[in-house]
């Protein structure tokens, strides 16, 4: 029997606003526990929430980038449940009137791009963080729990896809696309390892062609794109195997065990959770009037899909356009400014994504801002194109620029890397090499063209790489008599 997968992804994005969702405490990762707290985010008696305008603008931007409609009015609800790291024992969240509804995101796996629907994006507050400790260090034998409320009240956007994702690879691609959109908007640190983006997957399977949906299982605890893909694939396989061996899938929440590579039942009483949502009486309904929405829309940066399209139109091939579009902001800025200085788009893209990125990754030039400007890189490319320096010498010039030795022209001169284009000097060097290698000259004369490369190499070595290889080539051929 052939099976069809029905996958929906819920993504939680922590916003990188200065202050928390409903109070003035700092949003800051990694501080001493319980230092960014106040009556409101500790749930002290009498404290009240006041919504963070910047967070609302961030979720509006996310919604727009995901092609959602921003609702003209929206309401916060209380989601009631008791948990030690939830200070009020209710979470201020949204229920039936979220801020963003009905969007979509293009997702590419291999050569196939599909559009995945987005049901909603809503605003809520994060909980505190529990750390279970015991002598053995095992959760099961935890003897006490430490609570850190620094995260309590950090603005959180929950983005819920429609159940339109069809494979584990597509689930991963969806999550990656979503992350790049959020990172592009600059509204979140978007770091998986710090938990500023978290994924849950709803997975079910059904026989191909069947209308009715299979029983859905929620899978949690995936902390990388790879583990998301693995967990979803595991869950698909598990469900199919279960059904094919006459079992039934139970509606439940399962925990992904990264080490064992399996999902495990969390043994929660499913259906027993009644959050008793009701409209948050401490807050008034939000109104997102058209003027506000348009003002936010005007601040939206170029999104990855649009940028790739622009790069391709300017002459880059699709592969390079995608690589460059996925590069970080400083890298792209360098590319854009290099091109703006008149450099060829392909040369600029090659240098930026190749040699420059490799050096910056190594940490060269990490101490100062703007060590390499677009003007400098454009100059470097021009020096190569004009034959003033060779491509290999250009890498040394780049090192010099990154060490703060000056502009490419200056570095080429001071490091003595200018290409020798003076024919007489080259002739002199060629003659010396030919005199030292009479056999090779003979071979060349008798038609063995492959020794040409060897001879050119010898001349280049003799000139410490400064000779123009094209000229060297011509001179050797002339001497060989053809």
């Amino acid at each position: 029997m052939s099976w069809e997968n029905v996958i929906g992804i819920e993504v939680h994005v922590e916003l990188a606003t200065h202050s928390k969702m409903f109070c003035g405490c700092a949003v800051s990762f990694g501080d001493e526990p319980n230092t960014n707290v106040c009556p409101t985010c500790l749930g002290l008696p009498g404290a009240l929430p006041v919504p963070n305008q910047a967070a609302l603008e961030s979720i509006m931007a996310i919604g727009m980038a995901l092609n959602c409609t921003v609702a003209p009015t929206s309401v916060f609800h209380r989601k009631n449940y008791f948990y030690a790291d939830l200070p009020k024992n209710y979470q201020i969240s949204q229920f039936d009137v979220p801020i963003c509804i009905e969007g979509h995101l293009d997702v590419t796996v291999g050569d196939i791009t599909r559009t995945v629907g987005i049901e909603r994006a809503h605003m809520e507050e994060d909980t505190g963080k529990s750390t279970h400790v015991s002598v053995g260090g095992r959760i099961h034998s935890a003897s006490s729990t430490l609570l850190d409320f620094n995260r309590s009240g950090v603005p959180l956007v929950e983005i819920v896809s429609k159940p339109e994702i069809q494979s584990a690879a597509e689930a991963r691609a969806y999550a990656q696309s979503l992350r790049s959109v959020v990172a592009e908007l600059g509204v979140s640190d978007a770091r998986l390892e710090e938990g500023s983006i978290r994924f849950d997957a709803n997975v079910s399977v059904r026989p191909a062609g069947q209308e009715e949906l299979g029983t859905k299982v929620e899978v949690k605890n995936m902390n990388s794109f790879r583990s998301l893909e693995r967990a979803v694939q595991y869950e698909i396989d598990r469900q199919i195997e279960l059904i094919e061996s006459s079992g039934t899938v139970t509606q439940e929440t399962r925990h992904w065990d990264e080490e064992a590579g399996v999902t495990r039942s969390m043994r929660t009483k499913e259906g027993s959770s009644d959050y008793r949502y009701f409209a948050e009486p401490d807050l008034v309904p939000m109104r997102m009037d058209e003027e506000w929405v348009e003002r936010i829309r005007a601040t939206l940066p170029e999104l990855p899909a649009d940028r790739i399209e622009r790069y391709v139109a300017s002459g880059l091939d699709a592969g390079m356009a995608a690589v460059l579009s996925g590069a970080d902001f400083p890298t792209r800025t360098l590319y854009e400014s290099t091109v703006a200085e008149g450099a060829d788009v392909r040369s600029a893209a090659n240098w930026v994504t190749g040699e420059v990125t490799a050096r910056l990754r190594r940490g060269d030039g990490a101490d100062e801002d703007d060590l390499l400007t677009g003007r400098q890189l454009a100059e470097l490319i021009e020096l190569i194109d004009a034959g003033t320096i060779s491509s290999s010498a250009a890498k040394d010039v780049l090192d010099g620029v990154l060490s703060g030795e000056g502009d490419p022209g200056e570095v080429a001169r001071s490091r003595d890397l200018l290409q020798i284009s003076d024919t007489s000097a080259i002739e002199e060097a060629v003659d010396e090499v030919l005199a030292d290698n009479p056999d090779a000259l003979e071979s060349l004369r008798s038609g063995e063209v492959k020794v040409l490369g060897f001879l050119v190499g010898q001349v280049m070595r003799a000139t410490q790489g400064k000779a123009d290889p094209k000229l060297v080539n011509e001179v050797i051929r002339a001497r060989a008599g053809d």
Partner: protein
């Protein structure tokens, strides 16, 4: 001690014939004479009050005038956060809790130079109508110490009635300022929802709670409200527009005003003395030139039912934070869940538990629409009823309470009878409109009767105008006999 009002004391503090420390000493003398019988206070802040009074004297002598409450002894219901001063909401679950911050009203009082005498008793978390639901014992009525003072702001009402404070703050969710004011013969006022910040008020039902003054006179009420109201950026439900001048209409009389008598609030279930006294006042208003009409607001009959779904629903969430984890009482257990549940079971009193259960039930899946949803629809209908009424009349009037002060223990075993105490006051909480209770006389047993004046949202100037006229017409000067109360 002289029978001071804020206005009189304020004038004498400024002309140098009275010192704030002496005024405070007089108030504390009354407290020490009466507290054993009345128990208006949970906690008197002798040191803090003395310091504030001394500062007020120094400032006033130096010509620094912080406004009408400068140097005035004020009592605060113990559900308002006072930095460094124990605040319990009369609950075991907050026994010994010392807040790290001031409620906005408290900050405003401090900035205004008021002298905070202490924290007054209340029904636990403001849930009740007699101040008998306090975990620290009931408050008694200075007019008859076998009777209750009403509630839940019974402590502040009793303090103002006995003179152990010149003025008090209460909170009113379903009548908790106006009903005890009525039962103790003082003026009690609930402002328009959103005009007094709730920041730092321990929430009972957020969409209904509102802080307001209990005072000797209508003028004192307006002076106190003026000092505490105004937009607060810390309360997202705080009103942002213009605040009217509270004194702009006081003294203008009622000639030419249209006064609506609420048909549904009177008759069966109302004590004859209450009905008679209220009718007599309506007659007097008419004789003073007001056009009196009977107005029917049919939704008032179901307001109580709606209230007892909405308020418990909100309280079930508001009180969820009292879990023993971060502050307050903790009763240990094997697991965090067990600890929370033991803490709550032993920290909350029976009425609080009853309302949390009611509210939890009303919000539950499958019941939400029939209970909470329906109650919200009733609430809209009540607002519509009010809006229609205010197209015809300037103010609405009624008794504040169907009865005078009842005997201690009389209704404690019958929650529904207790809930009926608030039948006249609840509609204005559901609509968010302002209302005031003014004492107009005593019944045949010598117990005070209150008259309620209701006005549309932000209609405080009109409300105070009519209340002031009622006060003048009633000429109510009686005070409880302190000799009888004093030990």
């Amino acid at each position: 001690m002289e029978d001071f009002t804020i206005a009189i004391a304020g004038a004498r503090l400024r002309d140098g014939s009275l010192r704030a420390v002496d005024l405070l000493a007089g108030v504390l003398k009354i407290a020490s004479d009466t507290e054993a019988q009345i128990h208006a206070y949970l906690n008197i802040d002798h040191a803090g009050a003395r310091e504030a009074a001394e500062r007020a004297d120094n400032e006033l002598a130096a010509g620094v005038d912080r406004g009408p409450l400068h140097g005035i002894p004020i009592a605060l219901k113990d559900n308002m956060m006072t930095r460094g001063l124990e605040t319990t909401a009369a609950s075991q679950i907050l026994a010994g809790y010392v807040p790290p911050y001031d409620a906005t009203v408290v900050s405003r009082l401090r900035e205004g130079g008021a002298v905070i005498v202490g924290k007054t008793n209340l029904d636990e978390f403001a849930m009740g109508s007699s101040t008998e639901n306090s975990a620290y014992g009931p408050t008694y009525n200075p007019w008859d110490i076998n009777r209750i003072p009403g509630g839940s702001s019974g402590g502040s009402a009793a303090a103002v009635a006995t003179g152990s404070a010149l003025v008090g703050l209460g909170s009113d969710t379903g009548g908790s300022i106006r009903q005890p004011a009525s039962l103790t013969g003082v003026v009690g006022m609930k402002p328009t929802y959103g005009t007094v910040s709730r920041y730092g008020l321990i929430a009972f039902a957020s969409s209904l709670d509102q802080i307001g003054p209990l005072s000797r006179t209508v003028e004192d009420s307006a002076l106190t409200l003026g000092a505490i109201w105004g937009h607060d950026p810390l309360d997202a439900t705080s009103y942002r527009g213009d605040y009217p001048d509270l004194f702009s209409q006081i003294g203008a009389g009622v000639d030419g005003l249209k006064v609506g008598v609420v048909k549904e609030l009177g008759g069966e279930g109302y004590e004859p003395d209450v009905d008679a006294s209220v009718s007599a006042m309506v007659e007097q208003l008419s004789a003073s030139g007001a056009e009196v009409v009977e107005v029917s607001l049919p939704t008032f009959d179901i307001a109580l039912s709606a209230y007892y779904l909405i308020a418990p629903a909100e309280c079930s969430a508001n009180l969820a934070r009292f879990d023993g984890i971060r502050y307050g009482l903790r009763v240990e257990g094997e697991t965090a869940e067990e600890m929370m549940s033991r803490t709550r079971a032993s920290g909350f009193g029976p009425e609080v538990i009853r309302r949390i259960l009611l509210g939890t039930y009303a919000l539950s899946a499958g019941y939400y629409d029939a209970f909470y949803g329906q109650a919200q629809r009733v609430r809209s209908a009540i607002r519509d009823d009010f809006a229609r009424a205010y197209q015809q009349v300037d103010v609405l009037v009624s008794p504040t309470s169907p009865t005078v002060a009842f005997e201690a223990g009389e209704r404690t075993d019958d929650p529904l009878a207790m809930y009926l105490s608030d039948i006249c006051t609840i509609p204005c909480n559901l609509s968010g409109d302002p209302a005031i209770s003014v004492p107009i006389g005593l019944d045949s047993r010598g117990l005070p009767i209150g008259f309620q004046v209701m006005a549309p949202a932000l209609g405080e100037p009109m409300m105070y105008r009519v209340a002031s006229a009622v006060e003048d017409l009633a000429g109510f000067q009686d005070r409880p006999s302190l000799e009888m109360v004093a030990t």
